[in-house]
């Protein structure tokens, strides 16, 4: 049954179906495609939402919201331009930070328009899913090498949605130092992720 299902959604010879094939299935309202995508990405999406909100109930709502958004907009997703995982992470992070800040509907609609922008594809040698674990290890490895305060600043920005000024105040550090930490830290991460 599973073999038939994966063949239907575009996987060849029982291989793991690509995100592109699954999104095409989703656009045709194929429930099996949604199940496969959920099984593939629910754990990292939930982990991210839980880390930001620190509330399991809120994290569950965000996961549901993200996958329903995926279901609703599958036919508009630019699979040729962006991979799915970064889009899911970005949407989940935005929704989680929305919860923290209780944003108005107007502000959310503005950011939904930004979320409609395609997220750049990863480097040519990256294959979604197959390299996800290695990607995660690489990210954690790069961040672990950063000085503690620099890592803390980036985490405050990413997981707590803080701006430069807010981070500088929270960490009692000069604003220029915080800006430099974040810029250089993310550039190091980009270099590591783009290296073959």
């Amino acid at each position: 049954m599973l073999t038939l299902l994966t063949a239907f959604v575009g996987g060849a010879d029982g291989e793991r179906p690509s995100d592109v094939a699954l999104m095409q299935g989703l656009a045709r309202k194929n429930q099996g495609a949604l199940e496969t995508l959920y099984d593939r990405y629910s754990r990292p999406v939930y982990s991210l939402a839980l880390r930001i909100t620190r509330q399991p109930a809120a994290a569950e709502e965000i996961v549901q919201d993200v996958f329903l958004q995926l279901w609703r907009t599958a036919d508009r997703f630019e699979v040729s331009r962006g991979h799915l995982e970064p889009w899911l992470f970005t949407l989940a992070r935005n929704r989680a930070l929305d919860q923290l800040r209780m944003k108005t509907e107007k502000q959310r609609r503005r950011e939904d328009a930004i979320e409609g922008m395609p997220i750049a594809s990863p480097p040519q040698n990256f294959e979604a899913g197959l390299d996800a674990r290695r990607q995660g290890e690489k990210v954690r490895g790069v961040m672990a090498l950063l000085p503690e305060l620099q890592r803390k600043a980036i985490e405050l920005a990413f997981f707590d949605g803080m701006t430069h000024s807010e981070i500088a105040q929270a960490m009692q550090q000069p604003l220029g130092t915080v800006k430099s930490w974040i810029r250089s830290g993310l550039l190091r991460l980009r270099e590591a992720l783009e290296a073959t």
């Binding site: 939930y46 982990s47 395609p118 990863p122 990210v139 980036i154 929270a170 980009r190």
Partner: protein, 258 residues
Amino acid sequence: MSDCSQLKGSYQAYALGALDAEERTEIDAHLARCCPVCTAEVERARWVVSQLAHLAPPAEPPARLRARVLQSARGRVVPIRPAVPVWGWAAAVAVLVLFAIFSARQVGELRQQVTQLQADLGNERARIAVLSQDKRQFEKVLGIVSGAGTRSFVLKAAHNEPVIQAYWHETLGLALAAQNLPPIAQDRTFQLWVVPKKGAPMSAGIFRPDASGAVLHLNTPAAKLADASMLAITNEPAGGRPSPTLPPIWAAPVTEGK
């Protein structure tokens, strides 16, 4: 007006959402002009930022969530529209005719009622937002207080002020709770400090008691619990200070063990 070379150092922070309002507005305006260079670089930066999600500690979603998501998707599948019978179209035309002859004065009254309802709805939403924020704050405090590995401290004052209870969880944060605290001048604030074993005291936020003297303060200290030697609270000018300006009013040692 900035050009690409001036903005390129800010792409990462922009994608992260870390830019302050003025800088963010500048890049928004530049991207709105569809600069191909900056648009591509921001897309690239957004991808890099998205990968920070891998830093989140792995957590397993509950099994029930899968069923909820799939059921919700089934419920949202758009049904095939049923064919509209002829009488249905006639009824629709009749409604349109009636609406057309509806008096202008009645329409005006309805508009006023809608405006009032919108204002009431806005007020209710604001009230719900405040209540939701309080609820989230209490839930966070509950999480810290009941968390495994949470350490508790009692900050005592030299004089007759009530004690202040502190609960510190390494990852969830620090919660401070007290009642019947003395009032504080309008231009002053209480400030919590984490005194490390080595180095200067580090601020863990400012707070003021409410009208009843109650305090519930949440913070994610920059200092680590393992490196702390003392928690202390001073009375500082409004807005707090980078370092204490007066001796502490309340203090508690951070000792080894629970």
